[in-house]
Symmetry: C2
Subunit: 156 residues, 2 copies
């Protein structure tokens, strides 16, 4: 985590936008990558949530796989995908990211840390049966919601 | 890697498709997640390639960040995103994945292993200057191409 915070401070977010050869679409590329990052979170949360709810059968190996994938995502540094100039104020209709992501970067990082902490606990719990999985998935989902509440608009 | 291969063998790829509540769009969801997975690879390879070519200035911290992100992706198990029934033979115009991905799963896994190996070397090299970065990025890019050659159609 300390390494991540250092990286956040050291990297100038705008570098990715300003240095891109195709200046017109640089922000759109940032948004695309950001969406991919969250898409992968959702693709792993989906089956875990379905197992927790009993909508699909619990399978320890599958649960462990998806928890491991969330851990991989939690170890990913998404800083470049939050380059300045890519909020919904800058790009209406193309992203739901609120300007608060830039005015309150410590708050955004705090939400990421919550996610990382909950995912670490999920990794320990996922293979231990549906009863263990449920609360751990719920906590990860809570960190998703916590970030959405503060940093994502409801609609485009 | 052994853990990954075990997981590949244990998970029934169709489970994600068959158990989805919205049967009609399950395959499209798989393709979406697969595209997100490769999108994130590209989003990190892009700046590294640009640095290696001298199109943007070399920055050790930035290079290390992207190499670390590729390592995170390399630790991600993409099995669910290669569920059967999602090749370009099954879904023409919607994906470029060739049926070979399913008829030659060991070959596909071998390409993934090449990527993981090259990314591990990149992580060691990325912070060591542009001269060290260049060949390491080239090798990772070679593993991308190696997989595209065998498992991705040129066009949709």
């Amino acid at each position: 985590m300390r390494h991540f915070l250092m990286a956040m401070a050291l990297i100038a977010p705008m570098a990715y936008v300003a240095q891109d050869a195709q200046a017109q679409s640089a922000e759109e590329k940032v948004v695309e990558a950001r969406r991919a990052y969250f898409k992968l979170m959702g693709a792993n949360m989906g089956p875990l949530g379905a197992m927790a709810k009993g909508n699909i059968e619990y399978n320890a190996e599958t649960a462990q796989l998806h928890a491991g994938n969330l851990a991989a995502i939690a170890s990913y540094n998404p800083t470049p995908h939050f380059a300045a100039g890519t909020s919904n104020a800058d790009m209406p209709g193309k992203t739901r990211l609120l300007p608060a992501a830039f005015s309150d970067t410590p708050g955004l990082l705090s939400k990421l840390k919550d996610f990382q902490t909950a995912v670490a606990a999920l990794q320990d719990a996922a293979g231990g049966g549906r009863e263990a999985l449920g609360p751990a998935v719920g906590k990860v989902g809570g960190t998703c919601k916590g970030c959405h509440d503060d940093f994502r608009a409801k609609d485009f």
